[in-house]
Point group: C2
Chain length 303, copies 2
Amino acid sequence: MPKKVFQSVAIIGVGLLGASLGLAIKKRKLAKQIIGIGRPGSSSLKIALKLGAVDQIATDPAAVAQCDLVVLAVNVGLFPQIFRQIAPDLAPGAIVTDVGSTKQEVMRWAARNLPRRVVFVGSHPMAGSEKRGPRFARGDLYQNALCLICPPKIRGKNPDRCHQAVDRVENFWKSLGMRTHKIDPVLHDKWVAAISHLPHAAASALVLHAMAGHPEAFIAVAGGFLDTTRIASGDPAMWTDIFLTNRRALLASLKDFSRILRELQNAIRRDDSAAVNKFLTQARQNREKILHDCTVGSKKKVK
Amino acid sequence: MPKKVFQSVAIIGVGLLGASLGLAIKKRKLAKQIIGIGRPGSSSLKIALKLGAVDQIATDPAAVAQCDLVVLAVNVGLFPQIFRQIAPDLAPGAIVTDVGSTKQEVMRWAARNLPRRVVFVGSHPMAGSEKRGPRFARGDLYQNALCLICPPKIRGKNPDRCHQAVDRVENFWKSLGMRTHKIDPVLHDKWVAAISHLPHAAASALVLHAMAGHPEAFIAVAGGFLDTTRIASGDPAMWTDIFLTNRRALLASLKDFSRILRELQNAIRRDDSAAVNKFLTQARQNREKILHDCTVGSKKKVK
């Protein structure tokens, strides 16, 4: 039987990511018990319990008191409020982490709102789906994917405790079959702006443009449009939080993206076949390089 | 045995689209013979012959003389030259069509370069792949997809001949398992700018932005980025021709796309959560509507 990485894990928010995490922990027997915490009346809690993603459910944040690991798996915008709610009840030495998509503000909120007796380590497992809710949970969602980890700034007089907490969180994700990479939160936010948040914004804008101009054209929509815009079906509330907590990096990415598109517009306008070809060739070569370099969670998804 | 729709079909260019067309015609026994025409020394011709996508191969455009249907399946930019090359040898009453992605310029080139004894009907089967070459040909590539058809302007004194040619081309695509929709070339080009050419430009720009800013971020790339940018792996030469022959509509789409992104930028800049949420909600709702409305060739591809 594998060594328990944690005794008792609280998962706050049992949507797609939270419930998938519960399933993965259970499958690999990484904790003695998992408590799913959610809002009173939440149907997700009941579904997660029924799916076996959690062992117990609770609507009182005080349930974190018995846990040595607490994972936030709700929309990033709710983090400050949850940090404040759980702060009084967190056990000494507990580790708090998350699965949120932005890190700079999250790390700041954690430092401001969590007590010194716990350590917050930022986590961003690069796994997900445009689907939402525990109904779509999968025990292998995290497997083979990358988890970006943001260690906290060393506070107070016990750096060892911080380092140990980072190691334990890193081991936890590795035990779930993930690769890990430690990264500064500012750089993290720039990376994900480029490879995730800007693509989401672009996909959404493509849908809005097509719909505004020629909605009747949709009879002709094929696989290309659907693939390019798939992520635009993601949860708007979740993505609003992501966009607004990554404002600076996303605005910088949007600005550079617009510049690149303007260059293309200019090349097309002056009928500059060589410049258009160069633009497309560089894009293709770079994408082939990415396909070659990246190790994607679910190989079968790569086209 | 099914009725032959045409006796002898010439396919000029036996890459992915041309060779797939050959395979589909053969599978459904829609013609007595298929001649693949290509450049001297072209390896595609030999591969297409070996795959059984064509019965004969030729490098002399005069081979069209014996055909009652001629299909152009090369990059759109080569069309004027090919129209001029085949013009002297086309049989009286032959029908010429194509599988190109833009139609306004193509229809103009055909009207200018083809002799009056033939009829050109524009076709745009909405099927394809980012892959190129006959090696990736599939006999079911066109099946269940939509073919947009642009009837020619009635020239000379024989409108019946034009109508009959359009009917025969429409039947031809239907016999291959496609749905068809007749459309004016100007409107066609606006539709495809919105649902195909702009998405291609955006996908390419996303790759270029990510690569320019943080190439090391690619270790974290997941399914979302790869799906959103899949079409950026398309053939640059083919897409250069598409962009430049659809200049006006694509520039209009790029302009509107930039406007939509600017609105998002402004909403993010002023931390307007309601506006960002509205943007994302409308995008998601519209995409769900598209998924619901559109009938996509390959259902299994829809996510």
